[in-house]
Structure formats: C-alpha cells, structure tokens
C-alpha cells in the first residue's frame, strides 16, 4: 500500500499584518479579522476551495465558499441547519458523485490537484480522504472484519499484515483495550461511543491523509463525546481533520480554525447556504468579524 507522496503547495498569505501572516478573510466586504493571536507559520494547504457552489438539481444548496484547509489542523464547520456545512464537507471527498443530480461548481484542489478533474479516480480520492458519519455505521460483521474491510478492498490479503493493521487502527482510535478480546464478535454489539470509535478506526485503517467528520458526536453522550474529542487531538499530529458540528463548544474545544456558515434567502426567496466567516477559532469565538457570526455564537441567532 505505498502511495506516492502527495503533491504539496504552500500557502502564500495574501494579507500580512504587522509582519504576521494570516489567512485572507473570506469575504471581501468584511474587514480583515483583527490580528490573530496565534502566530502563523507557513501553513501547508491541503484543500483550497474557490467559489465553490453545490447544486441539488436546480436548487442551489450552498454558494460562495472560498477557504483553505491546512495540514495537521482541525478545521470546524459550524452554522445553523441548512447552512450547507455538511454539503461542503461532502464535496471534499466527492461523496456528491453518488447523489443523482448533485453538482459541485467552482474549484476544489487537494494538494494542488483539481479534485474534480476527470482523470481523478473518486475511489482513490475517498481512500485518501476518509469520512466518519453522523450516526455510527459499523457493518454487520465482526469488529475485526469491520477494520479489515478497507485494507482488504485495497489489496491487503496477508493475515499477519491485516492483524497488525487492525491492532494499530484500533489503538489509534483508543478502542483496542476495550475490544482486543472480542475481535470476532459482531460490531453491532458495541455501544454508540464504541461504535463511533470503531468507525474512526475503520477509516484510519486505510491510512488516510485527511479525516472528514460529519457531526461525529451528535448521537453520543457527553462522556463518549469527550473521548472522541481527545482522540481528535491525538490524531491531528498525523492527519488533517475537518469536522462539521452543531455544537459550538465542541468547535471551540477541538478546532484550530472555524468556518461559520449561514443560510440566507436568495433573490427568489430560497434559502441558500453561504460561508460567512473563516478564521482562527479563538478569533471567531472572541472577536468575530461579522455580526451574523456574533449573533450565532452568542445564541442570538437571527
């Protein structure tokens, strides 16, 4: 399973304030965010989205998304229901390919390559860019076979190799200790939190470069949520993580950067999601540049 090292591009900051590089503000009509307190090194860009719009049939679900997602960071997408955050995260590993009528416009690059180029194999995209879903979705198979599924379809057949991958993935997902004695039993017998960590382990087993998490804790209790959040901190040393969350505290706790989306009526009165603000998480939560962001994070959503 050797993959060639991914092409990399280095972000050239568009704006420099007092010699400190910051990400460009995402909306031109917004004043640049106040000087971020996190010093910026050169950030390696994994995803660059420019003018991304997603349509379901004729309906525009989300529009005007311009943002860069940096390597080994946790990027959170927050916003009210219908704001397009899930739609955007699903465009990052081409999950929309499977939805009849869904179209992604604009450009999304992944390590500098056009993700939606005709030459790109979507299966390979999804192997490198793993995904964890809102509801834990283990297969009705044993714990072992759940983890081994990805490596198997990617050509790993040798038992000893699979054993190593399974142990490693479960260890990384902080589940090994709980399940090592029952690898042969059905994954459907796990609790919700365990099942979600199993799904994370399953995604990690194919050694992805990015992990997309679509509201991974919304079906879990606070203790299970805390474990997953701890896990994300450990994983980010080797992974780039993008998380969609309804829980603002969670975004504040886990993420390095936060993108706030909202839904607003377009000219014809249909609600369309759009990116309002994207900045260092601390800035979003302490000195948001947009009144809509402030309204949302302070609970005065309007």
């Amino acid at each position: 399973m050797t993959t060639e090292p991914p092409m990399t591009t280095t972000l050239t900051p568009d704006t420099t304030i007092d010699g400190v590089a910051t990400l460009p503000p995402t909306e031109v009509d917004q004043p640049p965010a106040a000087e971020s307190e996190v010093p910026e090194q050169e950030r390696e860009v994994v995803f660059r989205l420019s003018e991304v719009e997603v349509f379901y049939g004729a309906a525009r679900a989300v529009t005007g998304v311009d943002l860069d997602i940096a390597r080994n960071e946790i990027t959170a997408f927050i916003g009210p229901s219908g704001c397009g955050k899930t739609t955007v995260i699903r465009s990052l590993n081409r999950m929309h390919d499977l939805t009849p009528g869904a179209r992604v416009m604009g450009t999304i690059t992944y390590h500098g390559e056009n993700l939606y180029s005709g030459k790109v194999d979507p299966a390979e995209v999804r192997r490198r860019i793993g995904m964890v879903f809102q509801k834990p979705n283990p297969f009705p198979k044993s714990i072992y076979d759940n983890i081994a599924y990805g490596p198997r379809i990617n050509g790993t057949r040798k038992r000893s190799q699979l054993d190593d991958i399974v142990e490693h993935a479960l260890t990384r997902a902080a589940l090994w200790g709980e399940v090592k004695d029952k690898l042969k039993s059905s994954a459907l017998g796990l609790s919700g939190g365990q099942a979600q960590r199993l799904c994370i382990a399953r995604a990690l087993a194919v050694d992805p470069d990015v992990l997309l998490m679509d509201e991974p804790c919304s079906a879990l209790d606070p203790i299970a949520t805390a474990r997953i959040e701890d896990l994300m901190h450990e994983l980010k040393d080797n992974l780039t993580i993008v998380i969609v969350t309804h829980n603002m505290q969670q975004a504040a706790r886990v993420s390095d950067r936060t993108a706030f989306y909202t839904a607003e009526p377009d000219e014809e009165g249909r609600r369309v999601g759009k990116l309002v603000e994207y900045d260092v998480t601390e800035t979003i939560f302490t000195k948001p540049g947009d009144p809509r962001t402030e309204g949302y994070i302070t609970g005065r959503f309007g």
Partner: protein
Amino acid sequence: MTQVLDPPASGAAPEPPPPLVGGPRPPGYLADRTFRIVAVLAGVMVLVILALIIWVLFDNSLEWFREEGIGSVFSLDWAPNEGKYGAGALVIMTLMVAVIALLLAVPVSVGIALFINEIAPRRARLPIVFVVDLLAAIPSVVFGLWVLRQLASPLADIYADVHNLVKDVPILGDVFGDPSASGLAIMTAGIVVGIMIMPIVTAITREVFATTPASQKEATLAMGATRWEMIRGAIFPHSRSGVVAAVIIGFGRAVGETIAVALVIGSSQVLTENVFAPGDTLASIIANQFGEASGVQRSALIGFGLVLLAMTIVLGIIARSILRRANRRLGIA
C-alpha cells in the same frame, strides 16, 4: 364533555375528571371494533381454506396410501400398468427442474435488480421495471407453447453440442447425457420455469437491495470502495435474508408450475440424472395424466398434490432456519 353535575361551591377543589370506566365511548370506537372483526375473520379464513385443501387432498388420496402404503411416497417406480405408484422419481425430477430454474433465474434477477437500482439512469428505471413485470403477466401456457414450438428444436441442437463436449468427463457426461431428439427435457422445463420466476425474484431482490441503508453504502465508498465493492460490502450482506426469501418464493413457484412444464418436459416417469432427457414433475404428471386416470392412479395423483404441498412447506422451514442461524452469527437477530 365534562358534565358538571353540581356547580362547585366557590373555593372548592376543581371537578375531578369523569371515570375511565362507563364514560362515553371515543368517536373511533366503532370503526376500530369493525376493523378488528374483519381482520380476524380474514386471518382465520386463510387457515380454514388451507385446512380444507389439505383435508380434501388427503381424503381423496386415502386409497393410494391404503393400497400402496406410506412408503410409496419415496418409491421411485411409477408404472400404473404394473400397479406401481411411487412418487419418489417425480419428487426428485421436480427438484431438478426447480434447481435448474433457480440457478438460471437468481443470478439474472440479481443482475437486473442491481442494474435497475444502482446503474440504470433514473429515467430508464421505470420502463425497465415495467418490462420485467410484464413478463410475469404472460400466461404460463403461452410460455409453454412458445418454447414447444420455437425453442425446443434449437435447444436440442445445443444440448447435443454440450453433450458431445462433456461426454467423456466423469460426472458431467452423465448429467449432460444423451439429449432427447425433440428438445423436450428436464433442462427445457427448467429454462421455462426460470424465465417464469425471474420477474418475481427480480421484484423481491430489488426491494430488498433498495432497503440497504445509505449509511452502509457510504461507509464502504468512504473507504475507497468501487461500485462493485460497495455492492459486495454493503448491499449483499444487508440483503442476504431477503434474497433467501426471494429464492424460497421462487422455489415455491418453480415446484408448482404446471402447464408450461407439462408442455415441454416430455412426460417420462423414469428417474434419470440426465437433464437433457425427458422427465415429469409432480405438477406436470397431474396435468398430463389426471384426465385419463381412475382408481388408485387417480388417488395417487391427488396424493402427489399433497406431497407437493408438504415439500414446499418443509423447504420453507429449512430455509428459514438456515437464515436464522446466519443472522444470529451476524448478530442481527
């Protein structure tokens, strides 16, 4: 609603609600009662009809059981001229026809179902479903006559070619043995029945495949699965029990199919392992011989109906238990 009997004295506790028992009946009461009675009657009627069928079959076949003994169900000889009325050969040939039909129909049906659900463009789905369902609307006698007049002799040529190809291979040489010149054979019956059960098997497997949760499909795809890997990893495991159900239903239809089989199977009651030779099934022999039969033969033919019924029930029970065990292993049930 609340009937105030005595006006409460000012400052007294509020009126208690009316008692649960003896109060006025809620508005839906009568309709619910009626529904209940109709549903129970319908449910009981199914059992009564089945019981009557079994009783009539048993009563009319009593002579066969009395004359030949219960062992004749398993006896392989059917020769009314010699007073031999065994059902065994016909049971086995019935199973042969059904197995051939299933071997042909199930893979094709699964393929059509997957094509419709996963590959065909949305707009093409309904027309394809319509065409497949239309196959089920063709009367079985039409199928039988079509195969008899158009397909039997080309099939005979194919059988001859296949036989020549494998005649020196140990077991295959016997199974695909000397073909009947007319093309009327167990294999031909299996093909007809296979075509006839395909629509129902397709319809059921399609429904079952469609119930695969999107989350399971997405789970496989999100790990880099191709479409075929998604089908194998998500759709098939989820659909196992449903496909078994489809096979059971297809099997029930296959063993019971009568007129088309009677027309193309060639009507020979001698047990053979050669699928290219003529045979007879429990259903087709009833159709072919009942008109001229009398006495024990007639009684035996009615008894075959009972055997057919028992066979379907037993196979259904076996299939269900296999299914339950498989599901328990998966931790589903």
